[in-house]
Symmetry: C3
Subunit: 310 residues, 3 copies
C-alpha cells in the first residue's frame, strides 16, 4: 500500500481497487475512537504549503493530520515567503522541506511543475489542488460521498453543472468516474465554459458516456447525483448575460425533479448556485461531503505514512 500511494498528484494514479482500499480505510478510521486514531501518525510531521491561500482545504488536511496524531508545519501563504520570491525551484523546495516533514501537502498553481518537481522529493507529495489542473483528493472524497450516500458508484446518472472548463474538481471527478462501469454524465454549463476538448475526448475514450443537457431541468431530471459547481460570471463579461446566473442555480423548485435517493454534491464554497433553502433537504449532501473529505484525507495520509491497517 505504502508503495502504491507514494505521491498523490493526479487521479490517474488511483485505479478502482485502490479507491476501494481508501474508502474502506476511511470507514475504518471513522470507526476508531479519537484516541486510537491518534496513534496512526504519532510523531510524524506533515507540511502544508499553500502557494494559493485556501483556508478550507488547508484546514481539512491539517485536521486530518491532527486527528491521526501527527503534527503540522504549514505555510498559509507560501508564495509570499522570501525563497519563493527569490526564484527557488519547486524541486529545491521539496528537497528542503522533505528534510523537515514526512509528507508535503501542496496547493500550487502549476500541475506540470508539480509533477516534474515531485520526482525529486524525498517524501510523499499530495496535490491539494493545482491551478486549472487536478484536485485528486477532492475527486476521491466526491466518489466516497457518492458511495456512502447511494451505496454504489457504478451505473449512475450524474449531472455535472457549472464551470466545466476551469473547474479542476470537475476534471478530476470525471476522470475518476470514468474508471467505474456504466456511469452516464449529463453536462450543463454556459456555452463558453464547456469541458476542454482534449479532456472530453480522453473521457469518451475511457468509456464515460457524456451528453450535454439543454437546460438545468433536463440535466437533473431523474439523475442519481447532481454535482453543482460555482461559475465566476465576472470572468465572462461580454460573453454571458450576468442575469443568466439564475439559469444555473439550483433552488427548492428543482427538488421535485429528483428521485428520493438522489444526492446533491458541491465542492464548496458556493455563492448563489445552490439556494440556502435547499440545505435542509436530506438530498443536500454537501456538508456531509465536507466531513467525508476529512476521513478520506485521513485515509490517504494513513495509507502513505501510517503503515498497515490493524
Amino acid at each position: 500500500m505504502r508503495g502504491a500511494v507514494f505521491h498523490a498528484l493526479t487521479v490517474n494514479q488511483f485505479d478502482v481497487p485502490l479507491v476501494w482500499e481508501l474508502m474502506e480505510r476511511a470507514e475504518w478510521l471513522r470507526g476508531l475512537d479519537r484516541e486510537e486514531a491518534r496513534t496512526r501518525l504519532q510523531g510524524k510531521i506533515v507540511a502544508t504549503l499553500f502557494y494559493e491561500p485556501s483556508t478550507r482545504t488547508r484546514l481539512s488536511f491539517e485536521s486530518a493530520v491532527l486527528r491521526l496524531g501527527g503534527s503540522v508545519v504549514g505555510a498559509e501563504n507560501a508564495r509570499e515567503s522570501s525563497s519563493s520570491k527569490k526564484g527557488e525551484t519547486l524541486e529545491d523546495v521539496f528537497r528542503v522541506v522533505g528534510c523537515y516533514a514526512d509528507a508535503i501537502v501542496i496547493r500550487h498553481h502549476d500541475q506540470h511543475e508539480l509533477d516534474r518537481a515531485a520526482r525529486f522529493s524525498p517524501v510523499p507529495i499530495v496535490n491539494a489542488g493545482a491551478g486549472s489542473g487536478e484536485h485528486p483528493t477532492q475527486a476521491l472524497l466526491d466518489v466516497y460521498t457518492i458511495w456512502r450516500e447511494l451505496g454504489r458508484i457504478e451505473h449512475l446518472t450524474v449531472a455535472v453543472m457549472g464551470d466545466l472548463k476551469y473547474g479542476r474538481t470537475v476534471h478530476s471527478l470525471l476522470r475518476l468516474l470514468a474508471k467505474f462501469p456504466g456511469v452516464r454524465v449529463r453536462l450543463f454549463h454556459p456555452a463558453p465554459l464547456g469541458l476542454p476538448d482534449d479532456l472530453a475526448r480522453e473521457l469518451a475514450a475511457s468509456g464515460l458516456a457524456l451528453e450535454r443537457a439543454p437546460d438545468l431541468a433536463s440535466a437533473i431530471r431523474g439523475a442519481d447525483v447532481v454535482y453543482q459547481t460555482r461559475i465566476q460570471f465576472e470572468r465572462l463579461a461580454g460573453e454571458v448575460d450576468p442575469n443568466a446566473a439564475s439559469l444555473y442555480a439550483l433552488t427548492k423548485d428543482h427538488l421535485a425533479l429528483l428521485p428520493d435517493h438522489a444526492r446533491i454534491l458541491h465542492p464548496l464554497p458556493r455563492v448563489g448556485e445552490i439556494a440556502p433553502e435547499v440545505d435542509d433537504d436530506v438530498r443536500a449532501a454537501y456538508f456531509r461531503q465536507v466531513e467525508n473529505g476529512l476521513y478520506m484525507r485521513m485515509a490517504l495520509l494513513d495509507a502513505m505514512l501510517g503503515g498497515e491497517r490493524r
Copy 2:
C-alpha cells in the same frame, strides 16, 4: 456548564455566577501542573480564524488550547483565503470548519454577521473581537485581573480612558462591570471619542454610575482601577489637536494620585499612552493582565470542551 457556555459572542451571555465560575476555573487551571492541564482538551481541535490579523490575541488563544493539551488549526489571515474572497457566507464557513474542529475562535469585522451565523454552527464559536462590536474574552480577563489584584469587583471606582467610542474592549468591559453592584465609572476621553449614546443609556439603565471627568488627574485621583486605552489620533485629524496626546497619556507623575492598592490596566498594545517609566510600579498590572488572559481563555475553552472540573 457545557450548556451554559455554548458560544461566547457577547458579554451579555455572562451573568455574575458564570463569571465567578470562569474565574474559579481559571484559578484551578493555573494551579495544575502542565502535564495535568494537558489532559483537559486531549484530542480536541480548535480552529482560529482571524479575518483581521492579530498576532497577540491569536497566540493567546492558541497557547490556551495547547496548554490544555488540544491542537490548533488556524488561519492567520482568513480574509485572504480564496473562499472568503469568493463570497462564501459566514454560516457556510462555520458549517464547514465545524466538520474539522471542535470549536472555532474567530476575529471578524462584523458583530451582527457573527451573531447571525453562529446560529448555524455545529460547534461552539468564540468571538475574539468583532469590529467595533464586542470583545467578550477581553472583558472577562479584565474583570479577572481586577478580582485577582484587588480582591473584589464590587464597589469600585474605575477610571476608563482613551477611545471610548470605537474601543470594543471598553464597551464589553463596561457591560460586564454593570452586572456587579456599586461600580462607579469616571470617563475621560477626547470630545469626539465618547461612549456611543445608546451604550451610555444601556449602561445607566443597568445601574452603572457614569460620570465624565474634565481631565486625567480628576479621572484617576483616588480611583481603584485605571483602565487606559489607545487613541488613534490620526483618525481625528482636524477634530483634535494632535499635540493633545500628552493630555491623555499616563506618566510617572500621575502615580502620586493613585492609592497604593490601585491598579493600572490596559488591553494592549499601547503606543505612548502609558509611559514605559510606569511599568516598574507594582500598580502597573497590564503585563500580569496578559498572563491572566491566557488562564481566562483556558477556562473558557475548558468550560466549553473539557467537561466537568475534577
Copy 3:
C-alpha cells in the same frame, strides 16, 4: 548550560566549547528514536514570529520543536498583525508573547532593536535572521556541517563567495570560523559586494586569514570548503554587468578543481549560482546541510529548554 544559552542573538555569544557542546547535543538528538526525542520539550510552547516571511527557516525551527515534542504557536507574517502596525515596541511584544510561550524564535529586520528588546524578554529569544545583521543558527549549522563532513573545523581553507556585503549568513559564519585556529578564507565577490570594512577589520583582528581571490577558479582551487551564496544582481543595476552572473556560478566544470574531500555548502535558497548538475556530486553538501540545520536547531532549543542531556 541553561544559563549559557539564554538568548541566541549573535554568534559572539558562542565560544568554541559551547559550539562543541551544541554539536555533540545535535549528534545525540540525531541518535535518539523519534519517541525518545519527543520527551525533551514535552509540554513546552515555542512561538515563531516572522516579521519577514521565510517558509524555509520557520519550518526548520517549527519541525525542530515538534521533533522534540513541543508545540508551536506562530506568526507567518507578524508585520501584518495589527499590533505591529499600531506601533507597539518589540519589548512589549516580547513581554506579551513571553506570557504565552516558553521561548520566542524571531526574524526581525533590525538587529539592534532585537538586541535591545531581548533584555526585556521573560523567555529566551532566538534570532532567526535579522536584516543585514546576524543569522547565528545558520552559522552554527554551517560549522556543524563542516565538522560532520570533514571531521574538523580547524586549519581549513574556505572559499566564501557571492554577496559578502549584505549576506548575514556569511557575516555570522566568518565570525564563528574566526574562533577556530588556522582557518584561511578566500573571498570572491563582485566589486561592490565585498565584506563591510569594519567586519573585515574585526575578523582580521580575531586572527582569521582573509584574502581576496581574483576569480572563481582561484578561490576554490584546492579549497576544503566552498561556501557559495546568492547574489541579487537586480540590486546592482549599472554597477555590475548582469551577464557577469556566470562568472560567479559554480558548474560541473569547476568540480575538477576541488579535492575529493572538499565540500560545497550553500545556505539556500539558490537560484543559478550552483548549477543543478552539481547536485549529484558527493561533494555537494547543501541538502545534507539542511538536515543538519534541523538537528542543530533541535540542539539549541534543547539546550535552552530541555534541561540536562541524559
